[in-house]
Symmetry: C2
């Protein structure tokens, strides 16, 4: 009887692995096809899964094992793609900000010949889509978990956030000049973005209010005010 029998090939698959795999997976490591090989598939899968988990459970309460399991990896494997859990958090935020920036820039281009009111309506609507869309967990994560970043990461993200906020300023300035917006532009920007961002706390896609309804209400609240008649 052998004293040492490491890695016996007949050893049964541990139950915990069967729990994580819905269907039997083929034996051995998956072959890398031409489409599959190191083109960032797995890396993107990791930060997308991380984004969803960070959003629903919070950064500190999410384990790297959760993330690994979500994409069918073993516990140590995420560290092959990301140096640390922190790097994963940063990737989630950075990818999200870049996507949001691109969408808002497209919105501004699409509405550049319209009135400032229409431009604001476009920014508000796109912001709601970015915030509340099914696959955009990035922004809520960014808004809630920034304190877990390193200073250098925070700086990089701050620059992206400034870019994003600055997209709003010319529109708000125009509306301030035309009298549609009464509050000072800087504070108005902060309060408006806050009102929109907070919707991640209460928006329920199953309720009756749609993103369009929200956009209408926001516009009415911010720039649809009446004459102060008393």
């Amino acid at each position: 009887m052998p004293v040492l029998e490491p890695q016996s090939p007949q050893r049964p698959i541990p139950p915990v692995l069967l729990l994580n795999a819905e269907v039997k997976r083929p034996r051995g490591r998956p072959r890398k096809t031409a489409q599959d090989r190191d083109d960032g598939n797995r890396r993107a899968a990791l930060w997308q899964a991380a984004g969803a988990l960070f959003r629903s459970k919070g950064f500190a309460a999410t384990t790297t094992r959760d993330i690994a399991a979500a994409v069918g990896m073993q516990s140590g494997s995420p560290f092959y793609h990301f140096k640390s859990k922190d790097a994963l958090l940063f990737a989630v935020m950075e990818e999200g900000m870049r996507a949001a920036l691109a969408r808002q820039q497209a919105t501004l281009e699409r509405t550049q010949d319209q009135t400032p009111l229409a431009q604001l309506r476009g920014l508000v609507h796109t912001h709601f889509l970015v915030l509340l869309g099914t696959q955009s967990d990035f922004i809520p994560v960014m808004l809630y978990e920034s304190r877990s970043l390193t200073p250098a990461q925070r700086d990089t993200l701050s620059a992206l956030q400034s870019q994003y906020e600055n997209l709003w300023v010319p529109v708000l300035k125009a509306l301030h000049a035309s009298g549609h917006l009464r509050a000072p532009v800087v504070l108005a920007r902060l309060l408006i973005l806050g009102a929109l961002n907070w919707s991640v706390q209460w928006f329920d896609p199953h309720k009756k209010a749609s993103v369009d309804d929200l956009s209408d209400a926001a516009m009415a609240l911010f720039v649809g005010g009446s004459v102060a008649s008393s």
Copy 2:
């Protein structure tokens, strides 16, 4: 030479305690005076310290050892006062909500003979004070860490939150009826509270904008709108 000498009174104070205590404390366990005895001193100290730590580091990233050290206890001692870390979180939130409710009720009583605009201004101002005051960490914690509560705790808190939100409704309805507020009342309430709540993200007491400035800007934004002249 005695084998067992538990609680030897000559035993030196462990260095870790000296680090936490700015001044030398009297030897032995502190005597309980009439004022001191179990009147909730230590319990309140714990949830107040927990509130500050949960706010700055987040619930999951704060250890019960952090909390114990902040009030000069040993690692296991918070569990003498609270059944679990979870119970501490709940205490922070509940105490905060009750304090906020009391302050807003006082505001409404103080302004009950004034115009709805003045009443809203009072609610906004008090809300900012509750949010941004030096000793009110409770609300930000509540807003960010609710997912760590048990369902029963969440229910209790939801009831308090509903009470708080309902304080705003009559005022907003009056302003809607008078034409000062254009957006639907329910969505307006959500957007307005969101705009205010978000200020915990960016408000800096060392910057020039005061809570009064914020209140003015918020009023201008929500109910100070101009005629839509184009």
